[in-house]
Symmetry: C2
Subunit: 211 residues, 2 copies
């Protein structure tokens, strides 16, 4: 049976139920740990399921942040230092990654609280997650405040990139499944993946090829 | 072996290779078909891997669009009528979904070209995809132009929602895996998923529970 909910029915749902439902509707989500550091040297780590690709030239990535939430330390650090890291969540660290969402006191680093290892390389000021296999160092570029609901979009440009060489295909595709990256659903679902296929560039009147 | 690429090394990659690589870096992606209709009644359907959750109250979703690309018809239609649909891609339609990215002449509807069925329900002006199991009707709310790279973010509010009732949990979580929704990687990877676990809300000094 198909269920139909109208705008009014969605608004009438109990708040947590509405949040879980609406969070399910975009489809599968990226799962990343964002590492940052305050101007006084306190590291911070938080899981985000909203990192998205914005463009390849220049290489830009974005994510959504709720400034009035536990995520505010990440925002303060990024605005303070101008740099942050994005680290893919893999299966072996996914429970620790989920735990970073807890509201720890501001003098506690989530790296310590959940037992993940901060890693500083190539003079980059923000901490990477050692246990992550795909890690990106970014420079803050733009903050866009969404007046509709008080969230913000943070856009950064890639400065450093680390990944397992065996996962990189000749055509540029990085096999994130092989690297152990997992996918998210709603607020709390964690999923491993299985490749169905990759397909050739779509053209009118040309049959797709599996690549 | 780990590979390290600097900002300069990424910029120096051959253009298609850079695009495939940078598109891999956000992690797994949502896969959705966006249905729209022109003011003169021509339907349009296009695959997007950038739909994201923006907020639950009000219920808002966003996606990224490249106005100078094949995606421009979707943008014109949304700006023209104010309404559009987001339809989850499932395994049984994923090849047809990929094919919607081809650059068809403007008088050709992708619904016809790839053999997916347009569906009009509850007086909603924009077409849904009949073969999709989770379908959302949205009203356009805001367009944000990103000057950094010429892309735009389109934000809409949920007006109608259709999903299989058996996939809806009591706590509001919609089991999109059970509904057949799949995940994307880079520009052309299609993946089925397998749930690892869902976890309880994270709190300091409290062990996570599987829910």
């Amino acid at each position: 049976m198909n269920k139909n909910l109208t705008h009014a029915a969605i608004l009438n749902l109990e708040s947590r139920k509405r949040t879980a439902l609406v969070n399910s509707l975009s489809g599968f989500k990226s799962l990343n740990l964002i590492g940052s550091i305050s101007k006084t040297g306190n590291t911070n780590l938080a899981i985000f399921n909203s990192v998205f690709h914005l463009g390849a030239n220049p290489p830009l990535m974005g994510f959504i942040i709720r400034p009035d939430s536990v995520e505010r330390h990440t925002l303060q650090n990024i605005m303070g230092t101008g740099y942050y890291t994005i680290n893919h969540v893999n299966e072996s660290i996914h429970e620790k990654a989920h735990q970073t969402a807890a509201r720890y006191p501001s003098d506690v680093s989530e790296f310590d609280a959940v037992k993940l290892t901060s890693e500083f390389t190539n003079s980059f000021i923000a901490p990477y997650v050692k246990e992550s296999t795909i890690k990106i160092g970014l420079q803050f570029k733009e903050r866009i405040d969404i007046t509709l609901n008080g969230t913000s979009i943070i856009i950064g440009e890639l400065q450093q990139l680390y990944f397992p060489e065996k996962c990189w295909k000749d055509d540029g595709y990085l096999d994130i499944e092989k690297a152990g990256t997992i996918a998210g659903s709603s607020l709390d679902g964690y999923h491993r993946t299985a490749l169905i296929n990759r397909y050739s560039y779509a053209k009118p009147d040309k049959k797709l090829e599996i690549i």
